[in-house]
Symmetry: none
Subunit: 190 residues, 4 copies
């Protein structure tokens, strides 16, 4: 009964993610979330002050877990280029293994629901990446472009690749995926 062990807050987040990733924010009433989470509607409001707060909470939760996953094997000991490629690969794999989270993030980041505070928080989560970029710049490994720009190109391409993979239409395997990762690397490397 893994599901029942989940504390209520987590159960709500899980239900929200599942439902929103396929039905969208506005296609998902609070009542349905409560039902899926096996709790009463009112209970959601003990953990989140409003639906918007819930959405934001879910975003933060996902971003946190993702950052942890993506940097899990990073250490200052490994070379920058290895580190960056590993990072790249991790991001892709995170999304491939968590397609609902990708779907949610894409919806959320392009919606007007996103709070400035949340955006701020998201920036903060990107700090480690920035640090890595900085080290790479110092070693003349990356193109001489603003950090933000490298990040944007990088993440835009990565997410797009993950989406293509998940769409299933392409039908390409791990090998192609690696080729894609290499291509992205070509984009940012000097």
């Amino acid at each position: 009964m893994k599901e029942e062990i989940l504390d209520k807050r987590s159960a709500v987040l899980k239900a929200t993610l599942e439902l929103i990733s396929e039905q969208g924010f506005h296609g998902t009433p609070m009542s349905q979330i409560a039902q899926r989470a096996n709790i009463g509607v009112g209970t959601i409001y003990r953990y989140f002050s409003s639906k918007e707060d819930l959405i934001n909470g879910l975003y933060i939760d996902i971003k946190t877990r993702m950052t942890r996953y993506v940097f899990r094997d990073y250490s200052e000991n490994i070379s920058v280029s290895v580190g960056l490629k590993q990072l790249l690969s991790n991001v892709i794999h995170y999304f491939i293994e968590n397609p609902m989270e990708l779907s949610f993030i894409e919806q959320y980041e392009n919606s007007p629901l996103i709070t400035d505070a949340t955006r701020e928080m998201s920036m903060h989560a990107a700090e480690p990446l920035k640090a890595l970029f900085k080290r790479a710049m110092e070693q003349n490994i990356l193109k001489e472009l603003p950090f933000d720009m490298l990040g944007a190109l990088f993440s835009g391409a990565v997410i797009s690749l993950a989406k293509l993979y998940l769409s299933g239409t392409a039908g390409f395997d791990e090998i192609y995926l690696n080729a894609g990762v290499d291509a992205i690397w070509d984009m940012i490397k000097r």
Copy 2:
């Protein structure tokens, strides 16, 4: 009074784009669209059978205009690599000049509102790009990757770059933009 010369259907599309790009689909009631378009609510329904139909119609309208813009200077006479770089540059500039359209497209393509029929139509619009890629492949100019993948990497990076530019935070100019375009080129070129 340019606005009043617009036929009503166009006025509705214009109003919808403006409002949705900043408030989102669900933050924008039909009544507000009507108001902005200076017509009655009922009139919208003479041109679009439902709100969903309106959204889809707007998407198709935008995609059509964008495709026209992006391929406007393309000809079979120019070299493939020049053509591709021009294309790249055009896409970026289209979005920079039409930020609301970028915002709308991003919302729409990640929402559950998107119809299969519309997705189909969108594929169709990508045909010229595919043809160009094909020519490039034959000349061994591009990496040996599936078309879909090249397209995904390409568009993901381009859109991401345009968004960064528009966010204004980067504050970089045309020169940097060109550097970005070159980086994207590095990603797909052999």
Copy 3:
């Protein structure tokens, strides 16, 4: 092109009857009536001041034609009992031959749309029947009941019989119909 010979007013009435008998008042927009009548919506308003007026006009039209049909072979020369039975039979046959009119009348008479003026008019149409009843009373042919009551019993049973016949479920033929008419006759005859 019989349809096109019809003057517009009649075309509107015909279209209204057809549509309302199957879709009901509120399931039938004015625009649909116009379409079926092959005229513009606005034109309806040249002949009828409002939808309500149209409905009332249709009712009066139907009642008039029905009364004419039902009394078509009546004359003071034939005996009262023959005349009454003939009348009875005529009413049934009118409805059987004009099912849409029956459907419309039943809807209309039970709806709150019916005007006092129209009800008045309807009474007036029943005058010949009353006269016939009076003659019958004087000859001690009918039960000693108020005219209104005889009329109510009579018309209630007749309409009910016609509806049953038209429902088709009973599947009975002309012979049974005559037996039904006889039964109704038993109800009012002394």
Copy 4:
């Protein structure tokens, strides 16, 4: 405060009956029903999935109560002819005592809103009457006509009589009513 003791579902049905019987289906908005029932609009939808469902629910409710009333004193011990006359009388009295229900039933049964499922249910409610007719046929008490036809003649006349009585114009009393009942009896008896 009898009204306030009513559970909400019943309060809604009561309000609906009152309003519809005088204003018709389409003259009665959900908001008005809610107001009359002293509840919020949304609450109606906890008990009925739509306005149509509400109307159907009301019809079933009324038919159930009416059937109970009409057969309340029926038993297999009493003679068939007494039973039938009692039934006849009960139907009339039910409608006289519940004029709004008569009005509603008449509107509903002649409207295109009626569902096949509901019609089915209504047939089912007529079973006891059919059984009684059957017994009567076996004893050669009724005319040799199909059950459906006897039922149609019977109910058509009864309802018509009740309506006349309620219209108040006739101004006849219980005695006349009984005479009417006798007349109807003459119609179906052998």
